[in-house]
Symmetry: C2
Subunit: 306 residues, 2 copies
């Protein structure tokens, strides 16, 4: 039984080691080094090129190595084999801690204190307590819901927005256009966890940003293309937003001449907020493969909408 | 009934407003503008000069505006009136979030990512998951115990050290010299929450730092003088410590020529990790005053040891 591996060129050594450890006795072929497509039974992929999965006649299942599936949404056709999303609670925890870090950063003015350090300036400020600090998580899927719960558990006043009404412990849920327009003007931080779909492309634009309280902060941990980047820069330059922590961008790797790198109000990280951990991911995939071998069906099968 | 106020010169407006709001109808005199010492019934103080409290013949109680009492420990004599420490869960929460922020910072390499931003460099790293990241909280008093619990609740592998054995939920407790020397070599982050006493002065010195795992980080939220600062700088320069987040220093405000300001591995904040919040603090003090007026005794009375 042979596994096709393609993690978009990242950390192949860690993936190979994890596969050897948790799925022992299987051959691994790294894309595109496939000589005989008939040997491939399973594919572990991330940002895999469209049309390739249809080349393997004995493919039994495809495991995406991340929770976001916008790259699969873009495939013109799908293989016959089922595709499974990776939902790893460790990754959701990672993203929640990353988000919490930036919420504390903005709440406690830690950017200002860092600037003061560069000036050898000792001066402190009264900052709002967590229960008086309002944060809104846009998107209440598996990741956004978990982030809201973690922020709430740490004392923040958390709102969650989704298109349709939901119920998540510790999060005040709002839905629809009206829910959004009444909530945004009250928020100290807006966190984007929206999935990337045709409906959400560019949804964070000048109209939405104009509703946000002046001086609020913005955090994006979902997909860059959910944001209209020129509108976001404009909101930062006009002072509508006091700061932004951005982990995702329309174009990744972020081009060297992108204005975000040097913007004084922007923190750039290289799409690392919820990096898939090879060890925990391969354990989940190994369990799912064993389930398939026994005739079972894993959770989180990818279903194309519409 | 008149209140003497002395918060070491900080935020007198906020304190006055909070007193007007939560203890209405009382006169407030700011130290040292006292003309008739006999009118003073209550004193709200922070870093108040030694010997002054004995001047007020009608003093009924003294409320410290912070949890640390090392400035009172240094008084050669104490007034007859009881002194109460301020234990405010909001402040403990604030300190826990501040500490959590720096733990995430070191765990996720956010200093390295900030440096990469300055170089427009897009590169990511596999970082340890929270359950695989070991942090030790030195000192398991009201604040240290709470910090340990919050870190544990957020998924970190938390150890707590105290001189005498204790039991705190979610924290693996170790005690004594042996407990310390077996724990330190395993830790990714060491957090100092020790109270400042004759026994702890300079306890974080080259002998202790030499036991810490090479490449670990250090966070200090208690008192600067618990640390031997030249030894700490030496451990940073030799690479024994990968970084330090310091909120407290032997000399505060930190002098402009102190090497910490410009050290590439050090984050300096101006003793703001658990700043007393005038609103919540005065509410606690107002309740305690009402209790005293009814003949009761508030919690957390300061008792001089030895």
């Amino acid at each position: 039984m042979t596994i096709l591996l393609n993690n978009d060129g990242h950390w192949h050594d860690q993936w190979r080691r994890a596969i050897e450890r948790y799925i022992p006795g299987r051959s691994v072929i790294e894309y595109p080094d496939v000589i005989d497509p008939a040997v491939i039974e399973y594919a572990l992929i991330w940002k895999h090129p469209p049309g390739d999965l249809e080349r393997y006649p004995n493919l039994r299942a495809v495991f995406s190595l991340g929770s976001g599936v916008d790259y699969i949404d873009a495939y013109p056709t799908l293989p016959d084999a089922p595709i499974y999303r990776l939902i790893d609670i460790n990754m959701a925890d990672d993203m929640a801690l990353y988000t919490l870090y930036w919420v504390i950063h903005f709440q406690r003015q830690l950017g200002l204190y860092a600037h003061q350090q560069s000036q050898a300036e000792w001066r402190r400020y009264v900052t709002p307590l967590a229960p008086d600090y309002k944060v809104c998580v846009l998107g209440q899927g598996a990741i956004g819901g978990h982030i809201g719960q973690v922020l709430s558990r740490n004392g923040f006043d958390v709102y969650g927005w989704s298109r349709n009404p939901k119920s998540i412990e510790g999060v005040k849920l709002v839905s629809g256009e009206t829910g959004l327009s009444t909530t945004l003007p009250e928020m100290d931080v807006v966190i984007c966890c929206l999935p990337m779909t045709d409906k959400t492309r560019g949804i964070i634009d000048k109209n939405l940003l104009a509703q946000v309280k002046s001086g609020a902060a913005f955090i994006n941990v979902s997909r860059g293309a959910v944001v209209n980047e020129p509108d976001l820069l404009d909101a930062l330059d006009k002072g509508q937003l006091a700061g932004a922590a951005l982990d995702v961008f329309v174009s990744e790797p972020l081009p060297a001449d992108a204005p975000f790198w040097t913007h004084p109000k922007v923190y750039v990280t290289p799409h690392m907020s919820g990096a898939t951990n090879p060890d925990t991911a391969v354990q989940i995939i190994a369990e799912n493969m064993a389930l398939i071998e026994k005739g079972g069906t894993p959770q989180y099968r990818y279903i194309r909408e519409g």
